[in-house]
Symmetry: C2
DNA sequence: CCCCCAAACCTGTCGGACAGGTTTTGCCTG
DNA sequence: CAGGCAAAACCTGTCCGACAGGTTTGGGGG
């Protein structure tokens, strides 16, 4: 279970009849995938699932032209429409409040792209959490790294105030639908949001 | 780009003023995430995206009770309904033939669970490939490891010949809808397949 | 011009060493 | 007996040197 300790490097190397070097490299490999956690002086422990490694893998795919942004958005659209449906059904009252608050913060920081981006990411992360399926949280997290890099492109391709308002208002509407426990409405709004986002990215000329 | 060579360990350790040990462990970490590829005598190379690492992460999540099978199936259902829609639209004739053939093989090996499982996995992998979105292939691959472990449970909970026939027939029907370029029909059938699969797993008492 | 072989290069593994950091132990005090 | 404290034991991170194979390269001979 997460938190459980693994045998020390010295012990493992003796039991398996290999050098500590080999054990260390094996531990490193597991740590890279966030299956275990390493710390100085302390024994290795079983780790909680984390999107860090997955995020790097996705970024690698994009940076080496094996994946393009359109494809990422198609996947995000697919899972986020499901996430918002589940969130509208399963969200606790605290989660509803958090999601409403994050949408409000987006609206408040519409003039500050950097802050807006972070609130946007936090909004979608909160929705994923409210879906009560950790796999969705994991996947949303995995796409966060690359989203952070490409989001400004989409924002710049919404040059008019109206387009920018629409983007933020849609998030507010989604949050209200989730708070109102209206999965159908929430899903439709999320679809619209992604339709619009993909259009914006296409306008920006992203392959 | 994939295939490009990285500097040798010795060179990097000299340039970065660290020991070769440190460079090696860094390389190991990247290799664990399949970002680079290591081989004896050869220099490290940039790797192609691969689901191996992601598969291990998912399995870790399941084995440590951080993710359950229902949640995996909800995600698979969500992305596979999208995959089959895209596949029906984008599949090449060769891909259509392959998908039809794999469904036929499933039907032929209905009495051999081990073979049936492998053909089932190959079927869904082929569909993902036909969707022309490598991220879907990546995710389907990531779930393959855990599916291989839980598939027999679902199969055993379909004790009647009729239930087993239905499962295989649905795959055949899906392959025909994809071959006929009927995304709507393919999507509905895939939904039915997952409805039925989740029901089977619930019957088996999977949390 | 092509082929083959030796040299140079490179990775995988080993052993030993030591600087810090953490956990355990055992003693001492109240 | 309980609690706290300091030393000892333990552990990881990093370094160095060495060597067994595997791979690449370059030169010489045909």
């Amino acid at each position: 279970m997460p938190g459980d300790k693994l045998p020390s490097e010295a012990l493992l190397s003796k039991e398996l009849h290999v050098s500590r070097t080999v054990v260390r490299e094996a531990f490193r490999s597991l740590a890279a995938m966030r299956i275990i956690e390493l710390a100085v002086g302390r024994r290795a422990t079983v780790a909680q699932i984390d999107h860090g490694a997955m995020s790097l893998m996705i970024e690698h795919g994009v940076h080496t032209d094996q994946i393009n942004i359109q494809q990422i958005y198609d996947v995000r659209r697919t899972i986020e429409t499901r996430i918002v449906t589940l969130a509208a059904i399963r969200r606790s009252d605290a989660e509803a409040a958090e999601i409403l608050a994050l949408a409000a913060r987006m609206q408040a920081s519409i003039a500050d792209p950097a802050a807006l981006l972070e609130h946007d990411l936090a909004f979608h992360t909160a929705l994923a959490r409210a879906s009560r399926n950790p796999v969705y949280s994991l996947l949303i997290g995995a796409f966060q790294g690359i989203t952070r890099q490409t989001w400004p492109i989409g924002w710049k391709s919404r040059p008019t105030q109206a387009a920018r308002d629409l983007m933020v208002t849609t998030h507010v509407d989604i949050s209200r639908a989730v708070a109102a426990s209206d999965p159908q409405q929430a899903m439709v709004l999320m679809s619209l949001h992604f339709d619009e986002s993909v259009r914006a990215l296409l306008t920006a000329g992203l392959s």
